[in-house]
Point group: C2
C-alpha cells in the first residue's frame, strides 16, 4: 500500500535514524526520551539515577551508615542501591530468611499462624506455592531487577479463555462451569447487536456524522460477530459443541446462552478483571518461584542482613538513629546505631513498636488498615486440568468462598501439579482465615470439586496462608481509603527526622513488589541528596 | 457464602466422587466423558483409538505395506500411528529434512525460492524463525503429541496490550503508534457508554425486564469503566501519561481519544483478532523452535523415511500401489510398491504429478487454491522492544504491507533477539513475495522503523520466505471457498481406490498442524478397518 506522510514525520524519523547512526543506541534512547517517544514506564525507569560510587569519594563523605529495618524487597532494594555508592548498610530482619511477602512455600517450609499450630509443607520437591506476589506486569520496575540479576522469567498466564466461570445462586447458569470464551463471546455479541441496531434504526442521537455511524455499525458487526441483519446468533469465538476435525467433520457450534441468562449469572462482572492496567497480558513470573527475586537480592546484600533480629525500639536524635532489637537466637536485647534509618516494616506491625516518631507520624502509622488475603496450595498427583480439560494456566473465577482457582503457569505436561486452590480477599479471606488449616483444605476441596470432580481422587497435600495471621506481616497489603491518602499518607511519605519509611505502602503501586522497589529508590535518592548537602 | 443446590447436582457430584474413589481416575475420566462433562476437545481426542499391535497379530494380517508421500506432520503422524500396530511403512520425502511446513530457520539454513537465488540464514546460533506454524492453541491435538513425545512447550504471547496498533491514512491517529490497551479501553468505554445511556433513557425497546435492564446497565458501567453518570472519561485500563510511582507520585491518566478518532483509525477491526477461537490465549509453542515437534516425530519414524525422494508418478491397481520417485542423490528413477498409499503432498504440488486418480479426484485436486503467506525474520543485536518499550512478546498490527510485527515469545532478557518483521497474507504477501530477498528486507526495515526507530541502529540479519515460491509447497495452506467445500472437498476426503489423501487440506482445521494430525489419524483408522475386514 502506498502511503503519504506529513513532512514533519519524515523529518522526525530521519532525524532519529541519523542520531542512531552517529551516536549509537544509547544516544537514540536518550533522544527518544527527550522527544517523548518512550513509553511512560520507560521514561519513569530512566528517571532514577542510583547514587554513584564517585559521588561519595569525590566529596569525602564515605562512611555514612544507614540501618534498614526489614529484608523484604523494599529493604533489599535500598541496601542494594545504597551499596553501589559505598554506604555502610545494615539490615535487621526478624525472620531467618529474606524476601518478606515474597515467599515461596516448598517442601519443608513451615508456618505457625498466630493462635494456631505449626504447619509443614509436604509438597514434592520442585513444587512451590507463591504465598505472596505471584505475577509481574511487564512494565513494572521489578522486571528491570530480574534483568539486572539474571533472574529467568516465564509468562504468567493471567488470561485463559479455556478456564471457567462458575457461580451459584445466579439464575439459569447456576452451578454450571462455563468456559470463559462462551460467556465473553455471547455478551460481546449481544451488546454489539443492541447498539448496532439502535444506531441503524436511528434510535440514538449520536454526535457523529452519518458516515461515522456506518463505520461504527461495521465495527460492531466485526466486534460482536454479528450477521448481515445485525443479529448475534452465536460465534465460533464461544467454542463448539463438537470440535471441527478432519475430513467431513465440520464441527457444530454451541448454542449461545440467552442474554438474560448471562446477565443473571454475574459473569459479566468478571470480564473486566482482565482489562485492569496491572492485570493485562503479558504478565510474568520467575522460573522456579517468585523467591528467585528475593534470593537474587539476598545474594547481593545478604552479608549485610542480621537475621533473627526482631526490632523492639526505634530511636533517633538530631545526630543519628539507634535501633534496639531482640537477637532471637540468644534472646538478648542488642542495638545498632547509624546516621539514618529506612523502615520497611508494615504499618500493621510498626504501630506496635515503641519509636521516636513525631505525633503526626505515629498517628498516621496507627490509623491505616491492611487488606485480608489468603491462599491455599493444593498438590495433585495428576494435572487433570491439562490432561482432561486442556487448561494450561490461567484462572477459574467463582462466587464461592474460594473466589478463584489458578492453574500452574509452569512445568506444563509434568506429572504432578500444584494448584492455587483459592486466592481470596476481604470477607472471603476473613472467613477462610478464621478456619484451621484442615478446615481450609476441606472447604477448598469441597468447593473446588464442584468445578473439577477429579479433585478428591487426585489430591495429595495442602498448605494455606492467612496473611493477617502471619507474624511480622499482619495483613496482605496496605488498604488506604481515599481519605487516608489525603490525611495520613502525605505524612508517611515525609522523612521523620532521620527515619524514612519505604515499602509498598509508601507508593501508589500498593500490593505490588514494584511499589516497594520504587519507594526504596525514592528514599535512597532523598538520603543521598541529604548526605551530599551535609 | 452459603449456597443451595439442586438435588440432582449433588447426586451427580457424589456419584462422580464415588466413581473416582472406587475406580480411580481412568474410570472417573471415562464416566465424565459418558456424562458429557468433558470439554468437546477432550471428547474428540478420546475418540481416536490407534490401531493396536494385538489387532494384526490376532488376525494374522501383519505385513501390510503402506507408502506415505511426504514426511510432514501429517505423513509422520500416519507413520507413527500405523507403526504402533506393526504396519510396514515407507515415507517418501523430497527434501533432506522432515517436517514440511513445520520448519525453523536457523544459522546456515538455506532456501532457493523459485526463480530466485539461494538465501543463507546468517542468524546467530540459538536464534530461529518459525517459517511455518509458530503457535498452538491449547486445545489442539498437537499438544497431545508434545506431551507424548516430551516436547517442552512455553506460552506463545498472542495477546499483549503493551504492543501497538499503527495505521496510515487513518484519520487523526494516522502514523502514530498507539498502545493496544489505549484503543481497546476507549472503544470499550464509548460502546458501553452509548448503550448504557440508551437503555437508561429507554431509547431501546429491549425484551427484558426492568430489573434486568438495571443489571445490564450496571454491567456496562463495569465493562466500560463508566462514571456514575454513565460517561466514559478515560480509564486506567488505557494506561497513563505519567505512571503512578512511589510516595506522592499518584500518576496521571492519559486523555482518552475521541471516539471519532478511533472509529476513523480502523483499529477496532483489529480487536477481534484476539477473540477468534484459535487465537485466544493461552497459546503455546515448543521451546527452541517449532521443529522440535518435527524432530520428535522424526526420532520415532525417521528410519522409515527415504529422503531426497521426489515423487514423479503415483500408480495403483486393484491389488496395490506403486510410487515412482526420483532419487535426487543419484538422479535416477526408482519405485516402491505397497498395499495402500497415504498422500500428504499439498494439492498445489500434487496436481502436477502424474497419478492414477479417478477423474473426479483429479479434477478436485486441480481446482482448489492455496493461500499466499510470507514471513521475514529480522535479527537485532539488542532487544529494544523489551529494554526501551517493555514489550515482552505479542504483536503489533498495522495496515502497512508488513501487516504485523511479532516480538519473540522466548528467551526474555537475552542480549539479541529475532523479530518476525512481517507475517503477511493475501495481496500483501503477494506483493512481498514478488520482491527479491534484499527488497523484502529493505521494506520490512523501512516500514518497521516507523514503529520502532531503533530498527536501523540495531539490525543485523534477515531471512524471508514466500510460501508460494517454496518448491514442494507452492502455497501457505489450502484456501477453500465455501463452494469448494461443497463440490470438491467431499471427493478429496474419500479414498480413491487404494490412495488416501491426508494433510491440513483434508480437515476443517486448515492452516494448522492439528488438521494434518487429525486427518492422518482419520486415514489410519480407515485403512486399519479396511485391513481388518479383508
Amino acid at each position: 500500500m502506498e502511503t503519504k506522510e506529513k513532512p514533519n514525520e519524515i523529518t522526525r524519523r530521519q532525524f532519529l535514524t541519523t542520531v542512531g547512526k552517529v551516536g549509537g543506541s544509547a544516544a537514540l534512547f536518550s533522544v527518544m526520551g527527550t522527544l517523548g517517544l518512550l513509553s511512560p514506564e520507560a521514561a519513569k525507569a530512566a528517571d532514577f539515577t542510583p547514587p554513584g560510587n564517585s559521588d561519595l569519594t569525590v566529596t569525602n563523605r564515605n562512611g555514612k551508615k544507614v540501618i534498614i529495618l526489614g529484608a523484604g524487597i523494599g529493604g533489599m532494594t535500598a541496601a542494594y542501591e545504597l551499596g553501589k555508592a559505598g554506604y555502610d548498610v545494615t539490615i535487621l530482619e526478624a525472620r531467618d530468611r529474606a524476601g518478606g511477602r515474597n515467599w515461596s512455600i516448598r517442601r519443608g517450609t513451615t508456618s505457625t499462624e498466630i493462635g494456631a499450630s505449626k504447619q509443614v509443607a509436604r509438597f514434592d520437591d520442585g513444587m512451590y506455592l507463591n504465598a505472596g506476589p505471584m505475577r509481574i506486569p511487564q512494565f513494572h520496575v521489578t522486571m528491570e531487577y530480574c534483568r539486572e540479576f539474571g533472574v529467568e522469567i516465564e509468562p504468567f498466564n493471567n488470561v485463559n479463555d479455556s478456564a471457567y466461570y462458575y457461580n451459584e445462586n445466579a439464575g439459569t447458569l447456576s452451578g454450571k462451569k462455563i468456559p470463559k470464551r462462551a460467556a465473553k463471546a455471547d455478551m460481546r455479541g449481544y451488546v454489539s447487536e443492541m447498539l448496532a441496531k439502535a444506531i441503524d434504526q436511528k434510535a440514538l442521537d449520536l454526535p457523529i456524522t452519518p458516515e461515522d455511524k456506518i463505520k461504527l455499525v461495521n465495527y460492531l458487526k466485526v466486534e460482536g460477530d454479528l450477521d448481515e441483519d445485525l443479529f448475534y446468533r452465536g460465534s465460533e469465538r464461544g467454542g463448539y459443541k463438537d470440535e471441527p476435525g478432519s475430513r467431513l467433520d465440520a464441527g457444530v457450534l454451541r448454542d449461545p446462552f440467552d442474554m438474560k441468562a448471562i446477565i443473571g449469572s454475574g459473569f459479566g462482572n468478571f470480564f473486566s478483571s482482565e482489562y485492569s492496567y496491572d492485570q493485562q497480558m503479558m504478565m510474568f513470573h520467575p522460573v522456579g518461584g517468585m523467591d528467585m527475586i528475593a534470593k537474587a537480592f539476598e545474594k547481593r546484600v545478604g552479608h549485610k542482613i542480621k537475621y533473627h533480629a526482631e526490632v523492639t525500639e526505634i530511636r533517633q536524635s538530631s545526630t543519628g538513629v539507634r535501633i534496639v532489637f531482640n537477637d532471637l537466637d540468644k534472646n538478648t536485647a542488642k542495638e545498632v546505631s547509624g546516621d539514618y534509618c529506612i523502615c520497611t516494616i508494615p504499618l500493621s506491625v510498626l504501630k506496635s513498636i515503641p519509636a521516636d516518631f513525631s505525633p503526626d507520624m505515629a498517628k498516621a502509622i496507627s490509623s491505616v488498615g491492611y487488606a485480608s488475603a489468603g491462599k491455599i496450595g493444593l498438590q495433585f498427583k495428576r494435572r487433570f486440568w491439562e490432561e482432561d480439560e486442556q487448561i494450561y494456566g490461567g484462572n477459574t473465577l467463582t462466587n464461592m468462598d474460594i473466589t478463584s482457582i489458578y492453574y500452574p503457569p509452569t512445568k506444563y505436561f509434568s506429572k504432578k501439579g500444584l494448584l492455587l486452590g483459592y486466592y481470596a480477599f476481604g470477607s472471603n479471606a476473613d472467613k477462610l482465615g478464621k478456619m484451621s488449616y484442615q478446615e481450609r483444605e476441606k472447604l477448598a476441596l469441597m468447593q473446588g470439586a464442584k468445578i473439577h470432580p477429579q479433585y478428591y481422587e487426585e489430591f495429595q497435600a495442602s498448605f494455606s496462608i492467612d496473611w493477617k495471621k502471619i507474624k511480622y506481616n499482619l495483613g496482605g497489603w496496605v488498604a488506604y481509603s481515599s481519605d487516608d491518602r489525603k490525611t495520613y499518607y502525605p505524612t508517611l511519605c515525609k522523612p521523620d527526622g532521620r527515619i524514612y519509611l519505604a515499602g509498598e505502602h509508601i507508593s501508589y503501586i500498593t500490593a505490588w513488589q514494584a511499589g516497594a522497589i520504587e519507594s526504596a529508590r525514592s528514599v535512597v535518592t532523598d538520603i543521598h541528596q541529604r548526605v551530599m548537602k551535609e
